[in-house]
């Protein structure tokens, strides 16, 4: 791209905020009540993190892989590509993430570890699952415009970053590349639209991660005397 330094985030925005938020609302309406199902999947993953079973690691990786393919097809390919031609090129990357989860991810241990890293990671996952959908309401949009884990890319990517940070296994960093790239792209889109969500999302994610870390620190401090 010639003179690329003269372009700003706004220059890459092909649609208006109103068109974008209506697209999310229409997507939710078309898929309802799938949001409840993906939320249940998220809660099940949360349960497996704190009460892992021998088979639950594969279940977590498999569930995530299915959700990434689902978001790639139902949102990026079928919905978002109608207003953003770049989404058609991103959808295969989401499918690749699903393949990585099903191949690399199935050999990893997906469980919560009471460390600083584990707490931040759990905070990110909790934010994506329970708080991210509420940002729509926080900034004055209707609840039907909520972005839900497993339905739209932003919370799915944030949740995956949190989960991968908790997981242990070779090549786990590979599973971070695409979600982090999407988080950057998603944030730039919101920033380009001048959407308050861009900052709300960042602050809330950071706050939830820091809060989870603080809770763990308090729990660790209160447990130490008993451990002696």
């Amino acid at each position: 791209m010639p003179e690329w330094w003269t372009y700003s985030a706004e220059d890459f925005l092909l649609f208006s905020p109103r068109t974008y938020w209506r697209l999310i609302e229409r997507h939710n309406e078309a898929l309802w009540p799938a949001q409840l199902l993906t939320l249940l999947v998220g809660i099940a993953i949360l349960w497996f993190l704190v009460r892992p079973r021998p088979w639950s690691h594969r279940a977590v990786a498999g569930s995530l892989a299915v959700l990434w393919v689902w978001v790639a097809w139902s949102f990026l390919w079928e919905r978002y590509a109608t207003i953003n031609w770049a989404a058609a090129y991103v959808a295969p990357l989401f499918a690749l993430q699903a393949v990585l989860l099903a191949s690399v991810g199935r050999r990893m241990r997906w469980s919560f570890d009471r460390t600083g890293r584990g707490s931040v990671a759990l905070g990110l996952f909790l934010y994506a699952l329970f708080l991210h959908p509420l940002t729509a309401v926080l900034v004055g949009r209707p609840m039907r415009g909520a972005e839900v884990f497993g339905i739209t890319p932003d919370p799915t990517a944030i949740a995956t970053v949190g989960l991968v940070l908790m997981a242990v296994g070779r090549w786990s960093w590979l599973l971070l590349v695409i979600p982090l790239l999407w988080c950057l792209a998603g944030w730039l889109t919101l920033y380009g639209m001048g959407a308050a969500e861009s900052w709300v999302m960042m602050l809330a994610a950071a706050g939830t991660a820091a809060g989870a870390g603080a809770v763990l620190a308090v729990l660790s401090a209160t447990r130490r005397p008993g451990q002696k």
Binding site: P2, E3, T6, D11, L14, S16, R18, T19, I83, N84
Partner: protein, 309 residues
Amino acid sequence: MTATRRMFLQGALAATAMAMQPAFAKAQATPQAGAPAMRRIPSTGEAIPTVGLGTWITFNVGDDDELRDECAAVMDAFFRAGGGMIDSSPMYGSAQQVVGYGLRKLGQPKSLFSADKVWISSGSRGPSQIEQSRSLWGVPRFDLLQVHNLLSWEEHLQTLFAMKAAGQLRYVGITTSEGRRHDLLETILASRPLDFVQLTYNIVDREVEDRILPLAADRGIGVIVNRPFQQGVLLRRLAGQPLPAWAGDIGASSWAQVVLKFIISHPAVTVAIPATSQVAHVRENMAAMSGPMPDAAMRKRMADHVRAL
């Protein structure tokens, strides 16, 4: 807008007459009281309304039926106000489809001047992209095709000139925006027989006044002005300021009309293409074509005033 023999003869006569006048005067069409301002396309003398309709962002609404109908309503108001040129591009997401939807809904208005672009890095794939664009618009052929942002411009210009020679296209142009690649733009304007150049120009972005606009006028190339409101940024900035008293002298009742009148009163400018998704705004924009236009002294006053805000 379909070319007829009469239109061709009128254009030829006008072009002959214009050739005997100073460069900037070439583009002026004779104004009539109460009628929307028209400008002649320098290469043919065909007159077109000086305010068109852009589709960047505003018409990219995907398959949202409610928003598609709103866009069709904007197009309806545009044509009812005497509008002609609608400009789009394959780069604008679903905008071409939405224009096509509106044209079908409105019954293919006769005054349409269809302007689209070719935007693909492969020169050999240009014709298939153009055909796809034509199909999305639902028009028999485009009036104007432009090379978008100078992408693969040499190969695409060959294609477009060949289409024009074969009668598949009436006008050929190139585009840029936000002041990018003006050096190359100058080279192309000076060396190729273009009908149109599209660029960014408004009351605060005036770099093109120095070299590009005089060159276009000198070469007999029509000028299409994009982003007249800086994608709304300029109007949001001006919204908090009171409309100056002199706005009444040029028949402007809003900042949007002040800005548009400044642009279309430049002698080298053929048409400005503001984009909007609101019927009220398109009516306001089209009204800028009516009433008195600022002269050189008033244009300087307008620019000085806005710069001082």
